[in-house]
Symmetry: C2
Subunit: 460 residues, 2 copies
């Protein structure tokens, strides 16, 4: 079929949905470093992780040898409601740019959560249900992950408790109401429902909350109640594993039409989408079967890859979770207040950190006005209103396509379009009004974050 005409959208048949997730760690010679117990600095054991996470998910978290993990049939059936997602040939964008490059994007926004987050939410909810749990807890900032998890829990009839950063709870009532419509309990954090929340409220009565505080409350809520576990939407190995449906579908769709990408681009916050998209391609690269240029795109205002340290660090600002070895700006790092474009996590998936450290991928930092300019250009010709996060990848895809215009190269560019921007119109409004500004942290700003890195023996 190599010479078939390429349609605007390549949809796979439901029968072509992946039956297994691909575990890229199995093909990595240098495995991602293990999670460490923050008290002992020893690798976390399954027994230590199981009071917090579901049993089967702990197994997936620690498994770095099995290349393929079966996707349970119940999860495949749920995937069928919104997957396979389309692989789109960006004919209109190519024409607008006047580039000889061929641009493709894998669009993950065609579901109510509006993003790829649902791919892992449904898996995590399934394993919680299978373990006989009553429910799960989590935190959410902007609300994309909380929405996805609420949908997944509604489907399996699981209780879902979301701790939402208070300022988002108040400023993003729409996100909150979507979660409530799916039956989740949404609590503004800090709250008086947990010990840690009450402590923070007593010390800072007027606080508008933080992600670090919401994580602490969600973990306490999970571990202090019978039948609950805590779940997370990015960073962890298990999450990247579930997200490989993105890359596997993309690869199948491309092979069906005889397409091979030269450049693969994805935005990176905690790494769940980028890891999911590139894993099958990185696997080929690791096994020496093919070569691809892989580019992670991050905000210049939160540059974990390009300016961070590869070190053990806390995953949360509350410092209660295990330590992970990753590219990090320090768990105390907070992006500048003018940052509107998402991807504000201080660290990065351990898997991606290791691949980057080993030279298997590169990274670029982009400024937010350039990101929204790309978002607008894309929206006007391709129709889809992209999420600010996804627009980081669009920015670099356009940059690469414009380079091809100069050189005349007919490169095939693939990027991940992770979601839609319906709930990000406040940021678009800033851009539309010409009020958006850029910010690049100074070296001194970064030093403050690095100063908070834990004193793990190996890195002292």
């Amino acid at each position: 079929m190599a010479n078939r005409e390429i349609p605007y959208k390549i949809y796979l048949e439901e029968s072509e949905l992946p039956k297994q997730w691909y575990n890229v760690r199995a093909d990595m010679k240098n495995k991602p470093a293990p999670l460490l117990n923050p008290a002992t600095f020893k690798p976390m054991t399954a027994e230590e992780l199981e009071p917090v996470f579901c049993k089967e998910l702990v197994k997936q978290e620690l498994d770095d040898t099995d290349p393929w993990i079966d996707i349970p049939e119940e999860i495949v059936n749920f995937y069928k409601m919104y997957r396979p997602s389309p692989l789109v040939r960006a004919y209109c964008l190519e024409k607008k740019l006047g580039t000889p490059a061929k641009i493709y994007y894998k669009f993950e926004g065609n579901n109510t959560s509006g993003s790829h987050k649902l791919n892992s939410a449904i898996a995590q909810a399934y394993y919680a249900k299978k373990q006989g749990l009553k429910g799960v807890t989590t935190e959410t900032g902007a609300g994309q992950w909380g929405t996805a998890l609420s949908m997944a829990c509604a489907y399996f009839d699981l209780d879902c408790k979301v701790y939402m950063v208070k300022v988002s709870y108040e400023q993003k009532p729409f996100r909150r109401e979507v979660m409530r419509t799916y039956g989740a309990t949404v609590t503004p954090s800090p709250s008086d429902t947990t010990e840690v929340g009450r402590k923070i409220l007593a010390e800072h009565p007027g606080t508008s909350g933080s992600l670090g505080c919401a994580i602490s409350e969600a973990v306490e809520a999970a571990t202090s109640q019978e039948g609950y576990r805590y779940v997370l939407g990015s960073v962890l190995n298990q999450v990247l594993l579930h997200q490989t449906v993105i890359g596997l579908e993309t690869k199948t769709a491309m092979e069906k039409y005889g397409i091979k990408p030269d450049v693969i681009i994805g935005c990176a916050g905690g790494g769940s989408n980028l890891g999911g998209l590139i894993s099958p391609f990185a696997g080929e690269k690791l096994r020496g079967e093919a070569d691809y240029q892989i580019i992670a795109v991050e905000p210049a205002s939160c540059p974990s890859f390009t300016r961070g340290k590869f070190a053990y660090d806390f995953c949360d600002t509350g410092k209660i979770c295990p330590l992970a070895k990753m590219y990090t700006l320090g768990s105390g790092f907070i992006p500048s207040a003018n940052h509107a474009g998402g991807l504000r996590y201080h660290g990065m998936s351990s898997i991606l950190s290791q691949l980057y450290h080993d030279g298997l991928m590169e990274a670029r930092a982009v400024e937010q006005t350039a990101v929204f300019q790309a978002a607008e250009q894309f929206a006007r010709v391709e129709g889809i209103l992209p999420a600010p996060e996804s627009s980081h990848a669009i920015r670099v895809a356009i940059d690469e396509a414009l380079k091809c215009k100069e050189t005349g190269e007919e490169k095939t560019i693939l990027f991940g379009l992770t979601g839609t921007g319906y709930f990000d119109m406040t940021a678009y409004e800033k851009y539309n009004n010409g009020e958006m500004t850029d910010y690049i942290p100074t070296d001194a700003d970064l030093e403050t974050g690095f100063a908070g890195l834990p004193r793990v023996p190996e890195q002292m």
Copy 2:
């Protein structure tokens, strides 16, 4: 292929996209009554309509004999960016209801406008561009139509002026910003940019605007500037014509799998979605080739079909547009303030009005708390967060499926899921908080509206 297993989602190939729209008027023995000039009560001629509407669209508006109208290639190419839309088998809803009925829905929400409105917006923008116009004007209330038109105009590089009811402009900033992101000028109405706007502002300085006023401003803006025309998102024959892509795709997809619907259900405000979905099926019915039960669903608080009069009436509250013969509550009718569920137009498409009058379809009015209850049930099992408008159809589809559960009938139920509810979370919030109420207008309420019907000779 009649016995192939039915997937969750039936996607057609791009090559199976309709190449022609279907003009149901050609098969109607009783044609819809012509538009009348409000000054002379004589049928509007093409010459009278062309200063307001694009030439080719006027032709389509008046053509009641050609059954098939070619879809220009440029429009087909745009359709390919988001069409064919999926026909979904609601396996999860069926299971939840425990019904032997087979439920299908045609989902039109997978594009940035979030609804079917784009199907006609792109056609109207195309004909404006082809006529060499600079731009188009329109009004928008909640903003769905304005968003679709902005997207279409961005694609064809046409200027787009949207008059948005002031209260929506202020209360729905997200919708407004989506339109601006697509390059539209959005003006809160009434405004000082038109004569009629200035007049209203002088008389009612504190007014929050109305759809009727916004229409008046949009028409004035179109007719007072060189190179502009006015466009409309529903009610008109041309709009229903463009929307038949919905029904044509549905029919092709069903035939591919040997499925024949027994009941076809759609929500009805001005009738664009319902007309588009049912036209090809109604055509078979008109030609005596097949029989289907067709049900229009409307809000009990705005019951044009079930309690309106079949009469000539103004299409706008400003009374400047031609008169149409339709089921109407009177152009002065305004739904009760507690009405949250959309579909608030006082009249109805002339085509659908005639089909209803001739007994080819039936109608049902439903109350809004029951509508949101169905919306929530649907969202939780099928994943998609439906627009309040679409949820009217869901309500009746569920009711019909529950009847089948009682009788044991294995009916095939098809309904139109016109869009998503991301921008309607204020209404969902009311429902989630138990604050939503119902309202059924009294006969006296309706009499007030009927009293404003124009004194057209034929109906005096």
